[in-house]
Symmetry: C2
Subunit: 333 residues, 2 copies
């Protein structure tokens, strides 16, 4: 008898789950899929009447696939500088047209070495992992690590980012590129001789920031200059950054910010950081999102890799540490 009741309960639960659960995503699911916070989703509905999701029996919002699609596109347009007011209620097609209207970096890339970029981008779009891997490896072997990073990987990463923004690249294609490149760079860095020359840098990103490709590229360049890099991966909480710096007795904290970084509160972040670290520790902020960061007392904003390398030599001049002697290291190897 009780057994029957159990079965019945399971059945009811099953029906409940599969029927009215289907038609939409909860607000939490939408937050994770679109990157728009629950607060924003609710306040938009209140202000603009969009998105206006269905409700389940309990009154919870249930967003349709269509709405989620629109919200995704809107998020991208917002990151590109559009304002919410002008995007609300636009259909998927209209939004796509808006996204497509921006300057096509991919097409513009028809210069000398830009031919290479276009080809690589094409490989990504064709999902040909092996070919992509081989092409990159070939580029690395041909150009050497430094030029490979500065002239191929960095522009390619920019292209990929922009292609993603303009909706011509899927997220998983971007992830695939990132994965292959990370693997290659890590391999290349691993092949370098260990360098124990000042300054000693801790490389990481703050909690909200998960992109680490820029960090890896910068590490490659720094290692080539003989600096000692301690890579801590991404997403380090502020308090732990402080502890890491003192545990490793680092000279410099190097942070990377991607273009997607929510730069609204970055000034407060900088102040918090600067306050948590001893003054003799330098703070460098770089990455694709650095161009949108404001320079602050005690935080050096590096907008290009060249500026980063300059900062390195500057640091060495100020602290009377000689750079590596390329000739002697060459002979020694």
């Amino acid at each position: 008898m009780k057994c029957k009741i159990v079965t019945l309960l399971h059945l009811v639960k099953f029906l409940y789950r599969t029927k009215p659960d289907m038609p939409g995503l909860t607000i939490a699911a939408v937050e994770r899929d679109t990157g728009l916070s629950k607060d924003v989703l609710r306040v938009w509905e209140r202000r603009y009447g969009f998105p206006k999701p269905d409700r389940n029996a309990g009154g919870d919002r249930l967003y349709s696939d269509e709405q989620v699609k629109q919200l995704r596109l809107i998020k991208r347009l917002l990151d590109q500088g559009h304002r919410p007011r002008h995007l609300m209620g636009a259909s998927v097609d209209e939004l796509k047209r808006l996204i497509g209207r921006r300057p096509e970096l991919t097409i513009r890339a028809t210069g000398d070495s830009d031919q290479v970029l276009a080809e690589l981008l094409d490989l990504i779009k064709r999902h040909d992992v092996t070919a992509l891997q081989q092409a990159l490896q070939h580029g690395l072997a041909r150009q050497g690590l430094q030029h490979f990073v500065q002239d191929i990987i960095a522009p390619l990463a920019r292209c990929v980012g922009e292609a993603w923004e303009s909706n011509t690249l899927e997220i998983f294609e971007e992830h695939l590129f990132t994965e292959v490149t990370e693997r290659l760079l890590r391999q290349a860095i691993g092949a370098l001789p260990p360098s124990a020359q000042r300054p000693r840098l801790v490389l990481t990103t703050v909690s909200e920031e998960q992109h680490r490709l820029g960090l890896l590229m910068f590490e490659a360049l720094l290692r080539l200059e003989g600096a000692e890099c301690i890579a801590l991966g991404a997403q380090m909480p502020l308090a732990d950054i402080g502890r890491a710096i003192s545990a490793h007795r680092a000279d410099v904290l190097a942070l990377s910010f991607s273009g997607a970084f929510p730069h609204r509160q970055h000034l407060g972040l900088f102040r918090e950081l600067r306050n948590a670290l001893p003054t003799e520790v330098a703070i460098w902020a770089g990455g694709a999102g650095a161009s949108r960061l404001t320079e602050t007392e005690g935080v050096l904003v590096l907008k290009t890799f060249d500026q980063g390398l300059c900062a390195l030599t500057d640091w060495r001049v100020q602290h009377r540490v000689p750079g590596i002697d390329r000739i002697s290291t060459l002979h020694a190897s």
Copy 2:
């Protein structure tokens, strides 16, 4: 005159920023530092009267460092299975005592090969990057990739996770271990010959899950068995997982879940996934957090690497694909 006004404004702003902004962290900062959502922080304050942060002029919460410390510890204890009611209002010391009271996996590790683990853990705690790197490389060369992953890296990762939970390891130490290991594994995987044998697997994690070490370990084992792996990194939104699977015409979707994965909604997640993918695509869920996942229709939960390898051979038997012939590949190489 106007110039003076500007200066004055800046000064006022500066004073305002540096003075009353100091004493605490905003609720957003605490959310990011502790992993406790704003909703939870507020509802705890309402229910238990803890944490009771100060307020700034605008009435916003400002949490003290002490409170953040307590909240961090509480979060860890919650992940270990404690209930909020019993933890509220406990001092930092009491919480630490609670955390310390769990079985010491590190000390228990005094067996035969466990000696090695203890030594590696010690290297991590001494922040000796170079030595750690060398020791791991040595282990890899000695044992071969498969045994290295199964007998050293996997147990070590478990040890590190548990050491972190029991407060004997800092976050940045854990990150350092992850980074070094990732680098090593990627290098080892890169050295393997490309394999184009069915099944073709897409490896990734869902949006909330950022741990990828498990994924990497599994990839190494799969590649050794000749399976074709497409690694997409971590944090792939559900909708894009579907698109990636069809774009790559994959046979299997392999997901990794860490112990820290918020398993509250994982059943809904599975259902959503299963519904988004064609039925002929298998879904495998593994990782340290898999033990807490419930088996669902159409989703295979793999609690160990061995189970994972079993799943692979099972798949091959069912689809009449032969495994790799180790002897002939050996001769061919």
